[in-house]
Symmetry: C2
Subunit: 290 residues, 2 copies
């Protein structure tokens, strides 16, 4: 199966798991909003979990639960990030955001419940038969998502908006290591954790991939098309924010992204050709148009 | 030790655990806001965890981690509940709320990170040496806090504000079973879970106590003093909301609370006099002035 086909395959399996998890919750607006937030998207993090797991002989039927968990957590972060008091975005994946389609209270609560759902999915027996593995998944995700990880990055991002000087390259790297890097690294490592083996190679892979991802995001904000991207573009320049592009130049940013893709692929040398779809993923991430 | 002394004893231990958990997070505004949100309060839920644990010979040094977790989760729920798009409260425990003292984005993020912290505390080795117990704590808390539990109650509460008719008694009971009942029941059961014994008696105790708690809250909103309560009072009547008081009358509500206290105490018969402080807690909850 090609990388593109496998990405779609994982996305379908993750969606089915999320649908099943939310089916018993009924029809309240907050639950409809949770479903809305979990619709669409590339499911890149879910793919990383499932493909990293497959590399260690962990079946999709096992890894899909952790993949669904990270996608629920990612969806929560987007819902809260889009709020008027945060990035104030009306459009996400080409569709109205939750506070636009419903209201702000529903967006806050739907995001809250999606974070909870992520930990619920990891703690469920179906995630892994060994409770020690499940609690390791919970503990590592909590570290990646909280005030040491993702939330720290988001807080630094907000602080940057009112900072007296634009951020330096080192400051942006720290910010992004939290904001997007922590969850991507967790996703990359998850397959090794489910297989109870050393996550170091997948961790190095996902770390470089995450950094390439963010540079590509900055490039997309400059070169991208809102219709294809499914979200507002040009907003960083508009806000006068320092980005990898403003600091490295467009060509410099593209070169840096290409180096990181190389680094990411090289981290998988030990897996040989079996890791080719993960390498394709790194190439895809750096060149994506949405 | 009397109930009052034990309540303060547990509060101090919980505070120390929360302080230690947040110490490595540094000085960012979002972290200061998390600390602010975790300051003060009766720590009723933490007391229930620790006293229920002590009843099963689980030491405070062990139960304090789960107690801190539930208080972090409770703090998150208050921070988000106080947001302008939710209850829009400026005052909590007699002090400005986070979106007033900092801003809305900081309140959203601090709440998000406090929820994550709760799961981090439960997943840490210190919570219990057996991973199976830790994952049980995580799984049950996720069920209590998410769209089946607390968030469901909050969503029903918001829906009630725009409903065509005031809620019936049965509807209010369903709402409150989620909004405040689920976390209080989890807290009550936690000691038995840590001791790996049947949580049914503590569950019945905490269920009745939680219902008495909410009726007392409605009574407080009518009879209470803002200075003592440390928060705005009279807001339910102002909003024309159906409450236990509007549906049962003030005397009827007080009678119902007293019945629930009896029920709550009776659930602990099997523990004899060793459970007297938990019984005192039920009496306290129904008669509290803040």
């Amino acid at each position: 199966m090609s990388f593109r086909d496998r990405l779609g395959d994982c996305a379908g399996k993750v969606q089915a798991r999320l649908d099943a998890a939310m089916a018993p919750l009924g029809e309240l607006p907050v639950v409809e909003a949770m479903r809305w937030a979990c619709g669409g998207g590339k499911r890149l993090r879910g793919f990383l979990v499932m493909e990293g797991a497959a590399l260690h002989e962990v079946a999709d039927a096992r890894s899909v639960h952790a993949a669904a968990a990270i996608e629920a957590l990612h969806a929560y972060s987007l819902v809260h990030d889009d709020l008027p008091c945060m990035d104030d975005d009306d459009l996400r994946r080409g569709l109205p955001t939750i506070h636009v389609k419903w209201d702000e209270a529903t967006a806050v609560l739907a995001g809250d419940a999606l974070q909870t759902l992520a930990f619920q999915l990891l703690s469920d027996d179906s995630c892994h038969p060994d409770p020690a593995v499940r609690i390791d998944m919970v503990a590592t995700l909590a570290r990646a998502a909280g005030a040491e990880g993702m939330v720290r990055g988001q807080a630094l991002d907000i602080a940057a908006e009112t900072a007296e000087h634009p951020l330096t390259l080192a400051e942006i790297e720290t910010l992004q290591a939290g904001k997007t890097g922590a969850l991507i690294r967790w996703s990359g490592e998850a397959g090794a954790r489910l297989a109870q083996t050393d996550p170091a190679p997948l961790s190095a892979y996902a770390d470089a991939l995450g950094r390439a991802f963010q540079i590509a995001d900055d490039i997309l904000d400059v070169e991208g098309d809102a219709t294809t991207a499914g979200k507002r573009v040009g907003k960083d320049a508009e806000a006068g924010k320092a980005t990898f592009v403003s600091l490295l130049g467009l060509d410099g940013a593209k070169r840096r992204a290409a180096e990181l893709v190389e680094e990411s692929c090289a981290a998988l040398d030990g897996y040989g050709s079996r890791a080719e779809r993960l390498r394709d993923c790194a190439r895809f991430v750096a060149a994506r148009d949405r």
